[in-house]
Symmetry: C2
Subunit: 204 residues, 2 copies
């Protein structure tokens, strides 16, 4: 990872390898959509990126490394987006904004997010990445619940545990919906929002 240099360096610091690396990741994402992770072979990726298998192993140590890098790239995008979003004070607004943003994320990155979830078990690196992402969401949900008057704490009926359950609900519901269509995703969002609001005590 390059240290931050003067933004507009004349120098073409865009190494050839950087282009290749991106090509590999892009190809990997495309193949993921076409045939899925298991069916996808290292030879396929290399071919799609216009290099040989041997060359690919110069950039990545294994097939898992490739998919992990792809997930990392996507997940960093999520974090960036989350950080950039202003947090509303009013719970109702915060919830609505969060759900809208989540729909966007799944619309844009659904494929890689689903893959990350699927591989969380078998590839520890990806598991860690995704867990961290989930923790960010759970923390955000917890904050909203507490601001809405739910008692803080980690007991089964307090904010923290409830936020966990709500987070998994959203993850899984979106996971399924994003396989279907954008319309389903929108409907799923509304359902989840409704349950979240109800759980926060904001709907009588």
């Amino acid at each position: 990872m390059p240290a931050h240099q003067p933004a507009h360096s004349r120098r073409t610091t865009e190494r050839k390898g950087d282009v290749r690396e991106r090509a590999i990741l892009d190809t990997c994402e495309a193949l993921l959509a076409q045939k899925g992770y298991d069916a996808m072979t290292v030879g396929d990726i290399a071919q799609g990126a216009g290099i040989t298998r041997g060359a690919l192993y110069f950039y990545f140590g294994s097939k898992q490394d490739v998919i992990t890098a792809l997930v990392a790239r996507t997940v960093e995008h999520l974090w960036e987006r989350s950080r950039a979003t202003a947090q509303a004070d009013e719970p109702r607004q915060a919830i609505e904004a969060a759900m809208r943003r989540t729909v966007e994320l799944w619309n844009e990155h659904g494929l890689v997010m689903r893959t990350a979830i699927d591989l969380s078990l078998t590839v520890p690196e990806i598991g860690a990445l995704w867990n961290h992402t989930a923790d960010l969401f759970i923390a955000a949900i917890t904050a909203v619940l507490e601001r809405a008057g739910i008692q803080a704490g980690t007991a089964p009926e307090q904010a923290s545990a409830m936020a966990g359950a709500l987070c998994w609900m959203i993850e899984r519901t979106f996971y399924h919906a994003s396989q279907e269509s954008r319309e389903k995703l929108q409907e799923a969002s509304e359902t989840c929002e409704h349950i979240w609001l109800t759980s926060a005590g904001l709907i009588t």
Copy 2:
């Protein structure tokens, strides 16, 4: 090697192969706990069952066939249990009973259920099996919600869609909790029950 054969002329229907088949499935389940699906090889299963790889292919066409059969065996057990459970009329009781039963199921079959979920994408057969199971649960939850006064229908805030989201919440929350400990599972159950009750309008 449990080689004692019933010399008494019970029915001849207990072919030697039936015993082997069970041994294979049992071994598969044991290895699943030890090393996980990916790391587990067909040779391992055969060895554990006391036969060679070649012999195993007499019973199952592939590694996927083995795991599918294991999931089918477990899932049928779930259906049986569900059918055998009397359904309470009173929503609060129905919810409590359902959650208690679910905890039992995950305590007993958590490993295979988690595997089924993980492989739902890559093994269509398993996906179908698990989807059907989920549909049973969703139907049950829908019924309870409607009896509790939630409007029937498939729109985002009506009983059917809410039941879906709640089912996925329970699935995912239990999935994670069952990896940890029985205590976590119990806590997860209480959290889910609370959200379910709230969503049903049974908690002010």
